[in-house]
Amino acid sequence: MLTIEDLRLQYPNGTLAIDSISLHLKAGEFVAVVGPSGCGKSTLLRAAAGLLQPTSGTISRKTDDVGFVFQDPTLLPWRSVLRNVELVAELRGVSKADRRGMALAALEKVGLAEVAKHKPRTLSGGMRMRVSLARTLATQPSLMLFDEPFSAVDELTRGRLCDDLMALFAAEHFAGLLVTHSIAEAVYLGGRVLVMSGRPGRLLGEIEVPLDYPRKPSIRFDPAFAELTSRVYALLEGS
């Protein structure tokens, strides 16, 4: 679904953000990338989406149907929740009737159909993030990119949103690439966890997560889960 080979990305000011990263994401696979702040995780994701051009290396996607979930909900405050969820379909030229149906279905999936007519400012942070998820899900993209999507909410909400994302992944079967600085989040959601070094970002290693999907929230307290997070932590510390 997504193949990145020997990606190197340098900003115009000379900062080398990413140095030689390769990864392959298969259809229906969920991969998490974890690394310290400023290691180029978001840059990697923006390049994968086509928002940044690589300095060298190649990025190939098998689909143009890419969904991107940002760090913040990035909703249009002048639009209702429903019209926000319609936005991606609208930009892609989907007819009004069709996109309304898509948006309502997506809001049902994230459990927010009852606030469809509300303005985003009347919602809590967690609800806004769900609306953002619904907006991305509405067009049912086959590749979803997540840029630390839950970093702006409190710990409890973050855990619940992770559970929601797990349920959505199990139901929708999209390919997902998540960047995060939370080791627990990466292990909980990822089938594989890729560990990045500090700037310039390089891949330090990859850890398989042999836990079956869909994973239950309680798996976080499983000794196997703890062992996997320890391994990721050790790899990060080694950097």
Binding site: L51, Q71, T74, W78, L112, R121, T122, S124, M127
Partner: protein
């Protein structure tokens, strides 16, 4: 009511000080320098023919200010939108917007008179020149201040410049545009009064009257004209504040309601 009360108290204090100053500190023979508030009201507002003269002048100035404001808004929006499309366009055009703001309007008056005559058109042009910059500057600021992540979202899904402008930049810039419009509306009233001073052909505006009354030692009428001109400025400022509240109720600068639910 809560908001009107402090303003009413200040109003009462100002009237009291005015009354005191004109009756205690100004000699009766020199009362024309500062007529009492009640004399102003009697002469300027309760005398039918005087009031009609003032209102006719005010109506003309309001028409000049409104025409100038509409033109300044259209020109200012287009100017800012063009500049927002590329940095080189901004660098090419912005210095001229700044120049418009900084050049003394008095220096342009003779030229405006030569080119456009000394009547309505020149008064409107004076308004446009005075009202243009706040709209240009605020609109450009608003268009440039869009969340980069939202720009990315639009770019990711293939939105062109027009879609980006209509569906993202202009709505996001609306609070800034309306702030600029509010400042420009007040400036347009000043422009209309200033224009009256220099372009006196045709029907007299409120500025013409302000120019004429002191020369006839009609102090009460002068104060009446100044009060009406100030009220016009206040009225347009309030009007655009009201429009801003209606149009940008979603913006943080407006209401701050409680969330409807928990984190779920």
């Amino acid at each position: 009511m809560k908001r009107l009360f402090p303003a009413s108290v200040v109003f009462a204090i100002v009237i009291g000080i005015w009354y005191l100053a004109s009756t205690v500190f100004v000699d009766e023979g020199l009362r024309f320098l500062l007529p009492t508030p009640d004399a102003v009201v009697r002469t300027a507002f309760l005398n039918q023919s005087n009031l009609e003269e003032l209102l006719a002048g005010l109506a003309l100035s309001a028409r000049v200010a409104l025409t100038g404001l509409v033109l300044a808004t259209v020109i200012g929006l287009v100017w800012a939108i063009v500049m927002s499309q590329a940095r080189w366009l901004e660098h090419s055009l912005y210095p001229y917007a700044v120049m418009l703001q900084t050049v003394p309007i008095l220096a342009l008056v003779p030229l405006i008179g030569y080119w456009f005559g000394f009547g309505f058109s020149s008064r409107v042009l004076t308004c446009v020149l005075i009202a243009l910059f706040p709209i240009v500057a605020n609109t450009l600021f608003g268009l440039r201040s869009v969340d980069p992540a939202l720009r990315d979202l639009f770019a990711l899904h293939g939105a062109g410049r027009l879609t980006l402008l209509v569906k993202l930049q202009l709505p996001a810039a609306l609070p800034a545009i309306l702030t600029g419009l509010r400042i420009s509306a007040g400036a347009a009233v000043i422009g209309a009064v200033v224009g009256d001073f220099f372009f006196q052909q045709g029907q007299a505006g409120i500025g013409n009257l302000i120019y004429i009354y002191p020369r006839r030692l009609q102090s009460e009428m002068l104060f009446g004209a100044v009060i009406l001109a100030s009220l016009l400025g206040l009225a347009v400022f309030w009007l655009f504040g009201f429009v801003a509240r209606l149009a940008t109720g979603w913006h943080e600068s407006q209401l701050n309601p409680q969330p409807t639910g928990g984190t779920k």
